[in-house]
């Protein structure tokens, strides 16, 4: 796993106010306070195009006050803070 400290230092060095969040237990830096369903899916599977008819489930925990935990539907977003954690999966196996 990439060191989160290293990422945060990198962001600080660039002078940007990046926010550290987690997607499927991996750290990512996002520029916006609001993160969308589509962004989270893209972060989970970087550099790859998700199947258009594949339905991902996106959950979040430790989001901004008032949105502690829940889920995102396509097109929805959530205000994040440092440490907000997302889960992304296709939940179709048994």
């Amino acid at each position: 796993m990439v060191s989160t400290d290293a990422l945060t230092e990198l962001a600080a060095a660039n002078g940007s106010k990046m926010i550290e969040v987690f997607v499927n237990a991996r750290p990512h830096l996002v520029a916006d306070k609001e993160v969308s369903f589509e962004q989270v899916v893209a972060l989970a599977f970087p550099g790859q195009t998700p199947g258009a008819d594949t339905e991902y489930i996106v959950t979040y925990t430790r989001a901004q006050h008032g949105n502690e935990s829940g889920s995102l539907a396509p097109g929805q977003g959530i205000r994040v803070k440092k440490g907000t954690s997302f889960g992304v999966q296709t939940t179709t196996r048994s």
Partner: protein, 379 residues
């Protein structure tokens, strides 16, 4: 709790037979100072199927003359030798009369336990392990009984009346993979009438590592159909399990129309959306389960999902779609299968009122493994 249930729960080998209460396997001491086993036979006074108050303080006894640990006959217990054939194949040899100070026993529990102790306390002097509480396991002869043997777990816990919720129910489990087999493991221990299992696949090695129990290597070598394999396994405890060794298709929904509940534990490759649409059109109540697991590089994470769809409240069921192979992970872990199954069965029982429910309605939720929380899904 009625006296018969209480005696059974405490391990006494008692049965009701043709109007008599029979107590088996009672240790006593014979004249030659050895421990033998005898039986009490006493008239059973019933109110419906419940034992009430014994008509008197006497009982018949099948065995030789009971003695103390020195071989002296129990004169205070034995009224006399009396051969009786009250029940076919069970000849009694003695008639006992041990009268309690109050004249009669208050109930059958007291009568049985006191008579047992009057004999067995001498047997314990010779063999300290001698007990009438043998916790016997008998096949249940009643064809209407939902289990192959008595459900002493519910009676010991006092939840037998709550179990009436399940009586007569017909349930289908579609898909007998890791999650479906765990669903069966739990549903088979509730007294539903019928459990129909649908799966066209064969049960092979890797299935055994995600399933409940421990498969025998010879079972694996035979490559049984999953539905037939699990029906055979769980018929050991549950009656009314019916195997359908075929894949569940949209057309199969007609077979389960009128069932009380359907558990969908499908895998990618099945027509989940078509089946869901057909179940909705047939006004069925069902739960769809599913999971996904990925490797973070520093441990696995994943998600298990439970979606409860009833005629009054439908929820969207996600499809696997055609994501490219690199998105698809075939990782599945037995404990996540078991958790997914347990959460699904728990929601079913909540829906039935078996569990008290103080929570707001959760039509669909997911458990993201690395976050260790239950997250409500927007519907």
């Amino acid at each position: 709790m009625d006296d018969l249930t209480r005696l059974l729960n405490e391990g006494y080998d008692v049965e009701l037979r043709d109007g008599y209460l029979v107590v088996h396997d009672v240790p006593y001491v014979t004249a030659d100072k050895t421990v033998a086993r005898g039986q009490f036979v006493m008239p059973a006074t019933m109110a419906g199927d419940i034992l009430t108050t014994p008509p008197d303080h006497t009982t018949h006894f099948a065995g030789s003359e009971p003695c103390d640990n020195d071989g002296r006959r129990l004169a205070k217990v034995i009224h006399g030798m009396q051969v009786s054939d009250l029940l076919p194949g069970l000849r009694t040899n003695f008639y006992f009369s041990a009268k309690p100070p109050e004249g009669n026993y208050r109930n059958y529990y007291d009568k049985v336990t006191i008579y047992v102790d009057l004999l067995s306390r001498w047997a314990r002097r010779i063999d300290t392990r001698a007990t009438a509480r043998t916790y016997p396991v008998h096949e249940v002869a009643d064809d209407d009984y939902p289990f192959a043997y008595r459900d002493s777990s519910s009676s010991r816990a006092g939840t037998t009346s709550l179990n009436s919720i399940f009586r007569g129910m017909r349930i289908a489990i579609v898909g007998l993979g890791g999650t479906g087999s765990h669903i069966l493991d739990l549903v088979a221990k509730s007294p539903v009438a019928e459990i129909h299992l649908y799966d066209g696949d064969v049960f092979i090695n890797h299935n055994a590592f995600r399933a409940p129990g421990a498969a025998d290597i010879n079972e694996l070598r035979a490559q049984p159909n999953k539905a037939e394999h699990w029906a055979a396994q769980y018929s050991r405890i549950k009656r009314g399990i019916i195997a359908h060794p075929t894949y569940f298709e949209v057309e199969t929904v007609a077979e389960v129309a009128g069932f009380n509940f359907v558990f969908l534990a499908l895998d990618d490759g099945s027509d989940r959306q078509g089946i869901v649409a057909a179940l909705e059109a047939a006004d069925m109540s069902f739960i769809d389960v599913g999971m996904g697991v990925t490797d973070t590089g520093a441990g696995l994470t994943g998600m298990v999902r439970v979606s409860t769809s009833t005629p009054g409240r439908r929820v969207p069921i996600p499809a696997g779609g055609t994501a490219p192979d690199e998105y698809q992970s075939n990782i599945q872990i037995g404990d996540l299968n078991a958790l997914n199954a347990a959460l699904a069965v728990l929601q079913w029982k909540r829906h039935l009122g078996f569990y008290a429910d103080m929570a707001s309605d959760m039509p669909a939720f997911a458990y993201p493994v690395s976050d260790n929380t239950i997250n409500r899904l927007s519907v």
